[in-house]
Symmetry: none
Amino acid sequence: METQNVSDMIEQYLKNILQEHQHIEIRRAEIAQQFDVVPSQINYVIKTRFTIQNGYLVESKRGGGGYIRIAKVRLLEDNQVLDLLIAAIGTTVSQHDAIAVVQSLFEDKLISPREAGLILATIDKDTLRIHDTQTENAMRARILIGILNRLRFKS
Amino acid sequence: METQNVSDMIEQYLKNILQEHQHIEIRRAEIAQQFDVVPSQINYVIKTRFTIQNGYLVESKRGGGGYIRIAKVRLLEDNQVLDLLIAAIGTTVSQHDAIAVVQSLFEDKLISPREAGLILATIDKDTLRIHDTQTENAMRARILIGILNRLRFKS
DNA sequence: ATCACTTTGACTAATCCTGACTTTATTATC
DNA sequence: GATAATAAAGTCAGGATTAGTCAAAGTGAT
C-alpha cells in the first residue's frame, strides 16, 4: 500500500464520496478540522490531486455561505492525439502553428467547424494584442492547451 | 443548491418570478421585510446578481410610489443590449463577470454546453496565468469581446 | 546530500450583511 | 407656486465570514 500521509487520506476520502455522487460540496474549514490540518492544506490536496487532466472540475465561493465544489467528469478513453498535440505545443506556439493544430483537431473530428472558428478567434494575434512575440506565443500556448485539456471531456 | 445565505434566497425568489414574467416590479422595503433583512441588502443582491452580464436590466425610481423594476433580456437579441454588455465589459473583466456572460449566452441558447466549456477554459485564470490582475482582466476582456463579436456576426 | 513532496501559517481577497447617511420624488401646507 | 414634510431608493464603508496564495520549514526516499 501507499504511505498514507494526510493529503493522501483526504484525497481518498473525497474520491470515495465522488464514486457515489457526481459532485460534492464541502466547507474547507470543516474538512480541515476533520483531518486536523490547516485549512490551506485542503487547497494543496485539490491542486495536486483534483486536476482537470484527471477529470475533476473545481469551483468555489468565499465569504458567508462559502464552499468548495468538486465535480467528476468523464474523460475520453483515447486521448493520445490530445497528449501528442499538448506535448508538441509545449510552452510556446506561433499563430501559424496554432492554426495547424486547430486544423488537425477539425480533421480528426474532435471539434466542429463552429468550434474551430471560436478557438481561432481566441488565439488570434489581434485578439491577444501582445507586442512581444515571445509573450504572445506563450499566452497562445496556454490558451490552446487549456482548450485541449477541455476536449478530454466526454460530452 | 445546498448553500443558502439570504442573498441567494432572494436571488432565487426573484428569478423564479422572472421565469414566468418578462419583468417584475418590486418595492424594496417589502422584499426586505419579507426576508427580514435591511433594505440596502436588496441593492446588494441586485448589484451582484442582476447585472447585464447576467442578462438583466434594472431601473428604479425613488420617492413616493418608488419601485425597482427588473427585466430579463437576451444578450444578442438586439444590438442595444449587446452594446450595453460590451460597454460593461469595457477593457477589463474579472473571471467572475466573464463566467456570468458565458452562462447567459448558454441560457439564451447562443452557445452549446460544449462551447461554453471551451470558452470558459480560455478565460480561466489558471489558463491565462498572468500575475498582474489588471493585465489578466484586460486579456480576458479582449478574448470575450472577440467571441461576442464573432457570435454577433456569424450567427 | 539532494530532491520532490507535504505541511504550516501569515497574509490576501472575495462575499455577505448592516446601518448611517444621501439623493430623489411625491404630497401637503402656506 | 414655493416650501416643508414625507416616502421612497441609493451609496458607502466597516465588520464578519469564508476561501486563496505563497513562501518557508519539515519529511522521506533515493
